[in-house]
Symmetry: C2
Subunit: 152 residues, 2 copies
């Protein structure tokens, strides 16, 4: 028999807000990610970044999303019946994320919908939020996840 | 005087489709990215992935988007007046991306809009597509970019 998970489709309640942790990002991490995936000057080149509209190096938005994902995975996805995701909507990068910033991430359950075609799973719609140490919202994502249903 | 760029806001035409290159992804890259940012079993654990609905390791969707981003940066963003992005919409992960897959990425210009509040820039809306070596669409993203206007 398969090991029981902590979170199944049935465990998500609309309105529920889950704090998934905090993470401080370093300059080395920002430059390392951007060098691989988003080497625009304001992400990788200190001099160019200082002259840009950002006034210094900022994290790639894809890096910010990836850090949010890691916190979601550590906090509950890894202990869940997650079957992946068909996509996400409305990613907004609202404020720059800079070296030394500490992100606090939460996800709020917007909607849960059992699959009509596949009775073993359901979709959970979520709103992710990342705030910095000043309480400013820096990034939001509308997530969609597929979760297996609790075994009967 | 600042160095002239190859791509300014004025250089994007609605309907224009830009092929931005191809990239083959390795298992090492898939596991490396997912270990850092999305360590769900079907991204990092071969045995668990084989037993999952995916039948083997697949790339994190965030990794796929990040690889698309890198191709966009290499092909034109780095030679452009890009000022970053307020966000993206409608990311869809349509088919699994597996080790050995070769992604071909394109971006099509959907809309260009001069900023009404900031006369030095404009927003360009784009549709990104990634296809695998079988011609199957594996991921799509509606992008938004801010670009500086061509100096007069």
């Amino acid at each position: 028999m398969a090991e029981l998970k902590k979170w199944y489709f049935e465990d998500f309640e609309v309105g529920q807000a889950i704090e998934v942790g905090t993470r401080t990002v370093t300059e080395e991490e920002i430059i390392d990610f951007a060098s691989k995936f988003d080497p625009q000057p304001f992400h990788v080149d200190k001099d160019a970044a200082e002259k840009s509209i950002y006034g210094g190096i900022i994290a790639s938005g894809w890096h910010t999303c990836s850090m949010m994902m890691r916190m979601l995975v550590d906090h509950f996805l890894r202990q869940s019946s997650s079957m992946g995701s068909p996509g996400v909507d409305e990613i907004r990068w609202l404020k720059p994320v800079r070296a030394g910033d500490t992100l606090s991430v939460s996800t709020t359950i917007l909607e849960t919908r059992p699959s009509t075609s596949k009775p073993d799973r359901g979709v959970v719609m979520t709103q992710w939020q990342a705030r910095n140490q000043h309480g400013e919202l820096v990034a939001t994502v509308k997530g969609m996840g597929m979760y297996g249903r609790r075994p009967q």
